[in-house]
Amino acid sequence: MIERARSAIAPLVLLVAALGIWETGVRIASVPAYILPAPSRIAMTFVARFPLLLGHAAVTVTEIALGIALGGLAGLVLGTAVFHSRTIERAVYPLVIGSQMVPVFAIAPLLIVWFGYGLWPKVAVAALISFFPVVVNTRDGLAAASEEMLDLFRSLGADRRQIFLKLRLPAALPSLFSGAKVAVTLSVVGATIGEWVGARRGLGYLMIQSNALLRIDLVFAAILMLTLLGLLLFGGFRIIEQRALRWRAPGDGKKE
């Protein structure tokens, strides 16, 4: 615990220092709030408009959650397929990598055309963007089991299913969690992009609207809300990861 508290000090000091410079800079130069509001003002707006922010956040969180679920599931299935079949790997993998070169921004408006202004185009963008790291990490994770371990399983007469369930899958878990954490971060970006392009609700929508009305403090408040959401999701996955990979952490959980 003490160690964790200590490791949090450095970034906190840096953050406070940056905010201090920002605050004094804005005050000394008397920058108008519609260009750059002071952190104190953003904080006040955040508190005052919290119910509004929360309402929009609920929409965005739904999009993110569905996006991760769909993108993650598709990624798991495709990653497993690519690992198991050379043919599928040759056919699909270059296309998957190529698809990542297409900017999501370019597709988002099309998705709006196809799916309308509702929830699904945003979910689609979040899923598309979070799908790739899951594919790559699933494939690499499944390949992580060492040749010696495979020898051991084969010499014990394990069938393919046992090798997959008892060796490959657990060996892939660390990699799968890495992929999931990247996917979470990206899907926050994906949902926001989706909302920018066309939406009636959500934090991305709120940002665009507030920006047009020169309510820059509200733009920042929405960004803050989005950041907190992202951190919360990331932290949630970290907790699940630490539970699932208990065996990896040296020092703690010595006995059960």
Binding site: E148, M149, D151, L152, R154, L156, P170, R246, W247, P250
Partner: protein, 246 residues
């Protein structure tokens, strides 16, 4: 305690086995040897001479290019640390039984007995990352024993341990073997280890390997490292190995 002493062990016949890999590397020129039921054979030879390849052939993991191996089902302990890090020590020990779909409760009880007997009590629920090298190796050996195969193939099981742990594990191995009487094939670099443990020693030549010499160690157990006969044998084997190299 009962350790299935009633089970008969199978012997091994290696008949003119050769192995050339697809890359063109000729690992084994021709090897023949036999191991009677319940005997302890140790294979020594220069590094990279194909000892592991030979063991994997006997384990049925790779097939020989020519020749044949006749052996009962084997339990193979690879050279690398092969405990599964996500399983506790006890869960690792019962892996083979689990793969064979045996009743878990019975094997768990048996594993607990073995843990108690070999100084691992209280570590059943510990993950490998928190065990010392000697403990990990003991767990891996218990796993190999619990596989209930007639033949145990051990690839340098003590190679990475410090000398003291090594000696105590050698004694431990010997006591388990004396009780179980399975056929053991051990690969090692350590000539002293070979002489202390084995009934027969097979010395392989450099790659592509052949049997340079095979002889019985006719000394009563337990053997003392300071026994002059053992020291004399050790010198003979070492000079033979040095000759093989040059």
């Amino acid at each position: 305690m009962t350790l299935h002493t009633d089970r008969p062990s199978g012997g091994i016949v290696v008949d003119r086995v050769t192995k050339t890999f697809r890359t063109g590397t000729e690992a084994i020129a021709s090897i023949s040897w036999t191991a009677p039921e319940g005997s302890w054979t140790t294979v020594v030879g220069p590094s990279g001479c194909g000892k592991t390849t030979l063991l994997r052939i006997v384990a049925g993991l790779i097939s020989p290019s020519a020749g044949a191996v006749r052996a009962a089902p084997t339990a193979y302990l690879p050279q690398a640390d092969t405990l599964l890090p996500w399983r506790t020590a006890l869960e690792n020990a019962i892996l083979a039984a689990e793969i064979d779909r045996q009743s878990s409760a019975k094997v768990r009880g048996e594993a607990r007995d073995l843990f108690a007997r070999f100084g691992l009590s209280g570590f059943e629920g510990t993950y490998p990352a928190q065990l010392s090298g000697g403990m990990r190796q003991r767990v891996a050996l218990i796993r190999t024993f619990l596989a209930r195969r007639d033949i145990l193939l051990l690839d340098e099981p003590l190679g990475s341990l410090d000398p003291l742990t090594r000696i105590s594990l050698q004694e431990w191995l010997l006591s388990v073997w004396a009780e179980l009487r399975r056929t053991v094939v051990l690969v090692t670099h350590d000539v002293e280890e070979a002489l202390v443990l084995s009934d027969r020693i097979v010395i392989l030549s450099d790659r592509p390997s052949t049997v340079e010499e095979a002889f019985s160690v006719d000394l009563p157990r337990p053997r003392s490292r300071t026994d002059p006969r053992l020291i004399e044998k050790r010198a003979a084997v070492l000079s033979l190995l040095l000759g093989v190299r040059s």
